[in-house]
């Protein structure tokens, strides 16, 4: 399948804001130290040049198809459909198998594209951050493929966790730097990577989600939207029409935007984001920026919804490392504010039970992150699904990195 060219459907202002016309609230922007301004300008100008460069885009698309394997299947899931109440009652449920990419998640698309951009712009080295090493691994693989050096910043607490993706990143040759600031998790790791960018203007910073200062949210969703562009064509040829609903899990919002972006102007397609409710929203231990009542704040270079604790950023909590983020991409927060994307949640325990169900009944080991969306989608479809509808769930990653964690769960719940 050929990749359709990117079409800008929701452009931010030239300063990188998405503005809600009703209440004038702005999302995005570029809130950074003046010392970073020249570095970001180089990335921003380079990005706009690259996406207009036919040769660059052609090569990139070819490599995404061959090396990442972006043309993954979409298939009907009779079992999930049955769980939601049956085709006669709620319609059909389909899965988009993004877990089948090289490196097993949606992250490799933007990681590879951004690394390709780094190379195009003449950078020799890349800086990035990671929580669960899903992004770290994706960037490490891309840097190896493209001959770039890489520093990965990771919170010291995250680095302690035994993780296959961490080892894989090291095997690819990445230099792993532990961050001991603040909560020693993803947020300080991201701040540390941005600080490193300030001292190393000859390296290009790459972010792992649709977050950070302009142009990062725009750049990541533009590159990642390849998934949605392919999905749109695939789904049409499979069913003859667009899906009625699309469900995706949301930490920062990259896999959500990657699949929903081409549909944001198609108002008949209902879009759902699923956040981690952790131990339950009411306990305060969750990773649900929108559903948990996040407020407007400014962090990591962007203005967006943030879980706050006084003037500082509150810790998020969830057992899915990929969702452990106290904020959300600005364009996603904007799309929520105008009512285009509805938000749902699932708790850690619901996700783990769903993991086991997928393993035992469907035969798939899904990323724990994806289990939040599967659970919430089935619940929602059961409630609101109608006959003849087609529902699409984004299976955004494979659960191999979660095997140890889930073995423990299985033993405890025998």
């Amino acid at each position: 399948m050929k990749i359709d060219p990117f079409k800008e459907l929701n452009p931010p202002t030239k300063d990188g804001y998405w503005i809600n016309k009703k209440n004038k609230e702005r999302y995005g922007g570029q809130y950074i130290s003046p010392l970073l301004v020249p570095n970001l300008k180089r990335v921003q100008e380079g990005f706009f040049k690259a996406i207009k460069d036919k040769k660059f885009m052609k090569e990139l698309n070819e490599e995404l198809l061959s090396f990442i394997g972006v043309n993954t299947p979409i298939h009907f899931s009779p079992e999930l459909t049955k769980l939601a109440g049956g085709e006669k009652k709620v319609g059909k449920i389909f899965l988009k198998r993004t877990d089948l990419h090289t490196n097993h998640s949606h992250k490799p698309i933007s990681a590879y594209s951004c690394c390709k951009l780094a190379k195009y712009l003449g950078f020799k080295k890349v800086l990035t951050e990671t929580g669960a090493f899903q992004n770290g691994r994706a960037v490490a693989s891309a840097c190896a493929a493209l001959g770039l050096d890489l520093d990965i910043y990771v919170g010291a607490n995250d680095a302690k966790k035994l993780a296959i993706n961490k080892d894989i990143s090291a095997l690819h040759g990445a230099n792993i730097i532990e961050v001991h600031d603040s909560t020693k998790s993803l947020l300080p790791a991201m701040a540390a990577a941005l600080r490193a960018f300030q001292s190393e203007p000859d390296s290009m910073y790459i972010v792992g989600s649709v977050a950070g200062p302009h142009p990062y949210p725009l750049m990541v969703r533009t590159f990642a939207s390849v998934i949605g562009r392919i999905t749109k064509k695939q789904f049409k040829s499979l069913t003859g029409k667009d899906p009625s609903t699309i469900f995706a899990v949301c930490g920062g919002g990259s896999n959500l935007e990657s699949i929903t972006y081409p549909y944001i102007k198609s108002n008949k397609v209902k879009l759902y984001a699923v956040e981690s409710a952790g131990k339950g929203i009411k306990t305060g231990k969750h990773g649900a920026t929108i559903s948990g009542g996040g407020k407007m704040g400014v962090l990591l270079g962007m203005r967006s919804k943030v879980l706050l604790n006084g003037g500082n950023i509150a810790d998020s909590f969830t057992e899915a490392s990929g969702l452990d983020f106290s904020s959300i991409g600005p364009e996603v927060a904007y799309l929520h504010s105008i009512g285009r994307i509805k938000f749902l949640t699932a708790t850690d325990i619901e996700a783990k039970k769903t993991f086991m169900m997928m393993a035992r009944k469907i035969g798939l080991i899904c990323a724990i992150e994806a289990c939040y969306v599967i659970h919430a989608a089935i619940r929602e479809i059961k409630k609101t699904g109608k006959p003849k509808q087609n529902h699409l769930i984004h299976l955004c990653g494979s659960g191999e990195p979660n095997v140890a964690q889930m073995m423990e769960f299985m033993k405890k719940n025998k």
């Binding site: 003046p34 603040s182 600080r195 990591l300």
Partner: protein
Amino acid sequence: MSKLNKLFKNLKIKKKSAFCGFVTSGDPNYASSKAIMKEMTKHCHIIEAGQSFSTSTSDSPIIMEANDRAIKSGMNMTKTFKLIKEVIKETNNDTCFVIMTYLNPIVVYGVKKFIKSSASIGIAGVIIVDNNLNSPEEKILLNGLSKKGIGYTKIISPTNSEKFIQQSIKNTKNSFIYITTYAGLTGSKNVNLNNVKKLVYKVKKYSKNMPTGVGFGIKTPKQVKQVSKYADVVICGSNIVNKIKEGHERRLSAPKLAKFVAKYVKQLSESTK
């Protein structure tokens, strides 16, 4: 006349540069920080008090640690205002207090409330590291603070473009422009003071009367002396913060810690020309 402008006018008559010492507000805790700042007012024309932000994107590890100590001890914007208010009241000298922070703590505290509180306790100036020159917040803060006669400082570095430097000069009101010795994090080891000198002269070329402050990596009396030959303000931070850490780790009491830090600050300050 604004507090900072008055300071610069007085120093100009004396043909002297100002010394500015940076500390993180509430580091290592409220009581010690207050004692340190009080003691520092004896030696500093300007005290730059950092309101910490946990996800700071521009501070060196030394200042990140200070931020952690302050946050752990329960500091926030409200307490920073209280602390500075008490120091001003109890010292009764002319030291100018400048708050250095990030936009998030201000947005969360409330932009209008921030301007009001700053005015009511007599803050001389504000530096917001991550406020973009073109952001709507920039306009509101610049106008709001200027109306109250509070200084607004922008930061520039040797790598910024001419256009950026000119706009930063324009957005600096009732205060000094902050020139970093290099484009990197605070507290780096090797600084090339020649680049800074050029930038100071460039600023003077664009705006003859704009006071220039130079900071980042200045730690020895010799460097202070050198920079003060051409800059209007010499700013020292990381090494003062390091002294606080050292004294805190030696478990000095608040008054002893304050004396320990101030002794070092005095050395630096006395080197300004």
